[in-house]
Symmetry: C3
Amino acid sequence: QTDTTAVNKIKVDYTKKGFTFSTADDNYAMHIQSQIQFRFFTPTDQSPTAFDDFSKPDETGFKIHRARLKIGGHAYKPWFKYAIQYDYARGTLLDFRVTLDRWDFFKVELGQWKTAYSRERTISSGKQQMMDRSIINRAFTIDRQTGVAFSGRVFPETLADFTYHVSVLTGTGRGATRNDDSHLMYVGRLQWNMFGRELEITGSDLKFHDKPTASLAFAAATNRSQFTRFSTSGGGNLEGYTSNAPGQYRINQGLIETAFKYRGFSWQHESHLKKITDYETNTDKTLSGYYLQAGYFFSNIADFVPAPLEVAGIFANYTPDTDFSNSYEQEYGVAFNWFFKEHRNKLTMEITRFSYKTIDNISDNQWRFRVQWDISF
Amino acid sequence: QTDTTAVNKIKVDYTKKGFTFSTADDNYAMHIQSQIQFRFFTPTDQSPTAFDDFSKPDETGFKIHRARLKIGGHAYKPWFKYAIQYDYARGTLLDFRVTLDRWDFFKVELGQWKTAYSRERTISSGKQQMMDRSIINRAFTIDRQTGVAFSGRVFPETLADFTYHVSVLTGTGRGATRNDDSHLMYVGRLQWNMFGRELEITGSDLKFHDKPTASLAFAAATNRSQFTRFSTSGGGNLEGYTSNAPGQYRINQGLIETAFKYRGFSWQHESHLKKITDYETNTDKTLSGYYLQAGYFFSNIADFVPAPLEVAGIFANYTPDTDFSNSYEQEYGVAFNWFFKEHRNKLTMEITRFSYKTIDNISDNQWRFRVQWDISF
Amino acid sequence: QTDTTAVNKIKVDYTKKGFTFSTADDNYAMHIQSQIQFRFFTPTDQSPTAFDDFSKPDETGFKIHRARLKIGGHAYKPWFKYAIQYDYARGTLLDFRVTLDRWDFFKVELGQWKTAYSRERTISSGKQQMMDRSIINRAFTIDRQTGVAFSGRVFPETLADFTYHVSVLTGTGRGATRNDDSHLMYVGRLQWNMFGRELEITGSDLKFHDKPTASLAFAAATNRSQFTRFSTSGGGNLEGYTSNAPGQYRINQGLIETAFKYRGFSWQHESHLKKITDYETNTDKTLSGYYLQAGYFFSNIADFVPAPLEVAGIFANYTPDTDFSNSYEQEYGVAFNWFFKEHRNKLTMEITRFSYKTIDNISDNQWRFRVQWDISF
């Protein structure tokens, strides 16, 4: 039962994706990599999710924030790709995706992975510019889902260079083993690669793009399920929602997103709107939010700055209920990234200030300091 | 601490079991493979386990049904084998088996794995003919257990060609870390390889046996524990049993099984009987069930049928309590398998009809439609 | 995206750590290994943790006690090491450690792993002399923690040959994702390598040291948290403690430890003291305990004894509360180890007698018999 399948010789390599094995005909390949994010944090690691979190006690400490096993490659044909991402620390399967990547203009993906919706969420945790995603991600992300997606890039290197994604998903989040009702989730995303060059889905301009490269994207999603938000833990509820009856909530949401990289400078921004309809109480709520993020390698303009150092900043603003637009949750962050080996070996120091105001106009602030070493091997 | 152990040169290969590494003296070998089963289902994925399940709402959706990591090989000697199967999706260990495979007539296995009892359960999920096991599997399977087994094939290629298995097990199911009482589980199985050829434990006649190959098997098991059924989740209870006191139930069960493959045609069948004694209430219950399953590659007799296509069908009948033999649970299924690359890359479309009748002679039916892509790499 | 990173040729090997891949420049290396411990036990596997456990019913059975995946190696530089240990059976991450191993006299470790405190706990489960750790381990171990450690060996091969460890940890045990309060755990350990040779952290003198090698160590730890003990499951409570309020307990503890190996003989001993202050009730409790353990390959003095056989014994004494010094928990154990291939393939038979006495001077005994096969591949 170990008869060799159509292979003369195996090539072994060390690549950006770890140790890699591939057959001579390149029909089969597999790579294995692990990743760790080790953090020190004070006074706490998690961003406050509500005003009351400001009064929580100090919980200074160290933690392994992410510990991942990544196995990927292709099988049977070079265009028949797969990617597995397993969370060692939680013991959960994050990604298991099969991609039919035969044509650039039409790819088919199936399994479980991060739905192509917003740039911030889609950027891998190991390729982020800030230490983690902004406070608005919690409310607006579609996160990982189970289903099928069709995508492609059309009219490349022209003025009409677009990347599209259409996804049909169970809509009950990561780890779904069933649907709560018969409604599926539908997500669409259209991205204009305005200079005829597609921007990679990573933070920081490590490649030092010598031609400006930018994208402008619109995305929308609709879903009816028992959940009002999604995260790595699967489906859950936003503040103010407690019940989880099957099909109780209809979510309609959309976003505008921009991104840009040029000569060590990087920019990205998203503006979100999300409407939750509760069929039990027959009420609606609308949430809005946006973030603005930029980074720069100052060594480009100042000789005394070391080349591996990037400085980045973010401002995020979240309005939990647009009917009470006086209330807000704001995040101001500054990060210093030291790239030992691109995103695969990176030290980040981050200072964040949270400023929240309730609907009763009570406001409060909190500082947070974190250091993270993110290493892939 | 990286001193090389008795090895000159490592051979790397891609085999049916994935990328494979072995030492020049063949004393050490390891292979790594992942498997995914991705499904679309409507109106639901799970077979109904009781009459009331028919009134459940529609839960159409996609899911990853199985996601597995398989690491195996041998160490120290070629006959000292091991096999690990880990479930990525649940984060649980399925198999960890060590086999002393020195003589065909006497092998010793230890660890945790699928007890050799019934053919349907023993066939790997990646080598099934139907999309999944029949409705009777839930009630009669012994599933994975922890313990020791002795097995072998005697008088090969004669009229008295038999394969035997004797297992001594903790009897508390997968993931057992202790026994509930001092009673162990004992399982015996005797299989007559009637044509002097041993039939492999897989569905579908992909090998196109040009000589008829068949088996007739009997098996029996006895166990006292707190459980009335077993599954991948471990020990559990059948309908009508709620308590789980240590040693509360004695299970005695037996089966007759036939299987046959010849020129693209495959057949298998099992007839089960199981008696549950509840020592708390001093009552007995007897369950019975059987299934009949067959498949054929019609390309053998009709040129216009594509060669990778197999059509298979199943009928299963389960009597939850033989004292109420008017009540039944029946499954009629038809599956269309398209083998891109044998069982390792296979698309299955399946239509199933469930027909259940209660002890009050109320009956109901349900249709189910599923598509599954099963891929190993 | 598979561009090769600085590598000409990959070396593949089978070593003591399993199949190993390394780049030609030795900047990158990875090894993969699995381990299983398979046990038969009667009447029960777990050591009694309290007097009442003696009256538990017989639970004879088999189990997989440990099933581990070990991935390790180095990346970017030969001295930039990592080690991952994942528990297949529980689906939990045990170790994820990064070590900057550039200088022998100053190493930095970060992540999650077994804190350098006591020898018995630090010895890997796969390299133990007895089948498992003694009864005193439960009360005194610091176990795995998340944080940072500094260590090194100074003045090697002199009379002042010392190995030191200083650790700063979150102090909430394995799997910590946050701290319960703002107090960190601090641990220090100083080991005198009295003959100028450092004793390896393993049981049994498999190397047949022909020069006497010994160590004398002192260690101390302080922590304030919600827990009174730690184990592989994370933080927990000792008998008599039920509440888990943040920062409720201050633990101060210390130990003296000796170890010695010479010509097939091995010795180790630890004496522990631990004081728990409960800030809620403003009460103190002091626990003490020690064990003495020795083993010998009698083939060295008696020709008729087979070379792979070692006989080892242990005596452990635990005083749950020094205010009631009449009460004790004692363990007497004898183990017979058969080393097929050093610690990587080892069969152990063990007989243990537990003798416990309550503070009311009621005493009882229990025998236990276990067999274990421990295999790494």
